[in-house]
């Protein structure tokens, strides 16, 4: 069955057509890998923020260290929203280790001293 994907790897947004084992329209290796993953087990990086202890109007941005399955997005968001970080926070500090046993960490994306 023919299925068209728009690549999200880079802002170019290539239109890639997957027809069984035939894959056309990609312009780089990353695009090919993306569409192979997307057509079998779609994954996403998640970015969000966590609360900081003792701060009322300041949150710390975070991301997943690796992509997580699309189906786990809202479960991971629940864990992120339960968490409170302690200052000082270093850049890319692991805040939640191995979230929901997905072998992925939640790490900070800002230094907040």
């Amino acid at each position: 069955m023919k299925q068209e994907y728009i690549c999200i790897v880079c802002p170019k947004g290539c239109h890639i057509i997957v027809d069984g084992d035939n894959i056309n329209g990609y312009t780089c290796l990353r695009g090919l890998n993306y569409v192979k993953q997307e057509s079998t087990d779609p994954k996403r990086n998640i970015t969000s923020t966590v609360l900081i202890e003792g701060e009322d109007d300041l949150v710390c941005p975070v991301r997943t260290s690796l992509e997580i399955p699309k189906s786990e997005i809202f479960n991971v968001m629940k864990e992120i929203n339960k968490f409170k970080a302690k200052k000082p926070i270093q850049m890319n500090q692991v805040l939640i280790k191995n979230v929901l046993n997905l072998d992925v960490d939640i790490i900070s994306t800002k230094e907040i001293l």
Binding site: I6, C7, I8, V9, C10, P11, G13, H15, R44, N45, I46, T47, S48, T49, L51, D57, L58, V59, P61, R63, K70, I73, F74, M77, N81, M91, N92, T109, K110, E111
Partner: protein, 422 residues
């Protein structure tokens, strides 16, 4: 009143992606007397609230979030002790005396003399006042970028049932972001027949969460006296006028506007710099110098970008040329070529090429006015074609950048860029 007087070789107005990159490049070019003047309480500009990833693929060959991208530059600024003033507002630019006047609560009024000035103050969001939606003016109508700042920096979700007008990237990113935080994002309306955001954002921000995008549709009324109670959306015809009988009421408590950005260029304009009427930013040459002596402009205050990597590139051009002007002085000008473009381009930068001896490379940026599925891009000197390239899927939301190199610009009489559908 105490007035502080300071002097720097290069003064940079705005510590966002353009200004940070200009500072880094100028420092690498051997200028150490650099000052960045920043209005906010931290460096990084809009990157600080853009916590999503997708930045840095060109510049760092990896996918970074906004704050991580900014960090790469801020660390450089700090490690090399480049000066910066935070919480400092520039009040005026006096290009004749090469002086800017700033104010900050800590330092009071500060006069700063410069040899070169780099203006990198970013852009503003268009607001509801600029599109004149009929109806009430209740709470609950936000620009997408303001809602983004409140959520990603301050930690406040501005609403629970959200509608988004305009399919610009910030609107799409906010559709996903608010969904992740538990809001119900009802839909996005775009008045044009095509989206103004990047394709990847339609996929990963709307399609992933089943958020409908209504093209050729807009908000025609805002309801609610004190708090937003709902909106009326309506399909539009080819002349973008609402079609009678195609109205629909949507109950919502929040309306986000993602209806475009424009260069925050007022201060430079008021200082006498010539304005490019198409970009609303400054009129610049290939070195990004404005019509004011030794004043450069780069980043979103020059023209609104879709990729921060390109903003950084532009900052580098401004930083490098400011540094070179200080180090080597001005070269002898052979001639000036004004650039032109055909009607398929929304704008073209630079506006003019100052031809010096040995000039053989110029970077051009432009946007198409409407989507072109297969376009032929021509650089022409009169009828003579200098360079031809073909590009698929040209859309207004994606800036095109092309370099002309190994060319003797002194041989050119004029330069025009055409995009033609083929």
């Amino acid at each position: 009143m105490k007035i502080n007087n300071k002097t720097y070789d290069i003064v940079i107005i705005g510590g966002g992606s353009a200004g940070l990159s200009a500072a880094k490049k100028a420092y690498e070019e051997g200028i150490s007397s650099i000052l960045i003047v920043e209005r906010n309480n931290e460096l990084g500009g809009i990157l600080n609230q853009c916590i999503h990833n997708g930045f840095g693929l060109h510049k760092f060959k990896k996918e970074l979030t906004g704050p991580e991208y900014a960090y790469e530059y801020i660390e450089f600024i700090k490690e090399n002790n480049i000066d910066y003033f935070l919480n400092t507002l520039v009040l005026s630019i006096n290009s004749k005396d090469k002086l800017i006047v700033c104010s900050s609560s800590e330092e009071g009024i500060i006069n700063i003399s410069y040899k070169c000035l780099i203006f990198s103050a970013g852009c503003n969001e268009r607001t509801s006042g600029q599109i004149m939606i009929p109806g009430e003016r209740p709470n609950g109508v936000f620009t997408a970028g303001l809602a983004q700042k409140l959520l990603n920096i301050d930690g406040y979700l501005v609403g629970k049932n959200v509608y988004i007008l305009g399919s610009g990237d910030i609107g799409l990113i906010m559709a996903r972001r608010m969904t992740l935080e538990g809001a119900n994002v009802i839909g996005v309306s775009e008045i044009m027949p095509y989206s103004n955001g990047l394709n990847r954002n339609i996929v990963q921000c709307l399609n992933d969460y089943n958020i409908p995008l209504r093209l050729h549709n807009t908000v025609i009324k805002i309801h609610g006296k004190n708090q937003l109670e709902g909106i009326t959306i309506c399909d539009v015809d080819d002349s973008l006028k609402p079609i009678e009988g195609r109205e629909k009421f949507i109950k919502c408590d929040t309306l986000l506007l993602s209806i475009g950005l424009y260069p925050f260029n007022a201060m430079l304009k008021n200082s006498g710099a010539k304005v490019n009427t198409e970009t609303k930013g400054a009129w610049v040459d290939q070195n990004l110098e404005t019509t004011l002596d030794s004043v450069f402009s780069c980043g979103n205050v020059l023209h609104v970008h879709d990729l921060v990597d390109y903003v950084s590139d532009e900052g580098e051009i401004a930083g490098e040329n400011a540094a070179k002007l200080i180090k080597y002085g001005r070269k002898t000008l052979l001639k000036t070529i004004f650039t032109k473009h055909n009607s398929n381009l929304g704008y073209l930068l630079p506006n003019e090429i100052k031809v010096y001896k040995d000039l053989n490379e110029v970077s051009f940026s432009f946007r198409v006015k409407k989507p072109i599925s297969k376009g032929e891009i021509l650089f022409k000197d009169g009828e003579n074609i200098i360079k031809r390239s073909v590009k698929n899927d040209l859309i207004p939301s994606e800036m095109v950048k092309i370099k002309l190199n190994n060319l003797d610009f002194n041989n050119l009489n004029e330069l025009s860029v055409e995009v033609n559908e083929i």
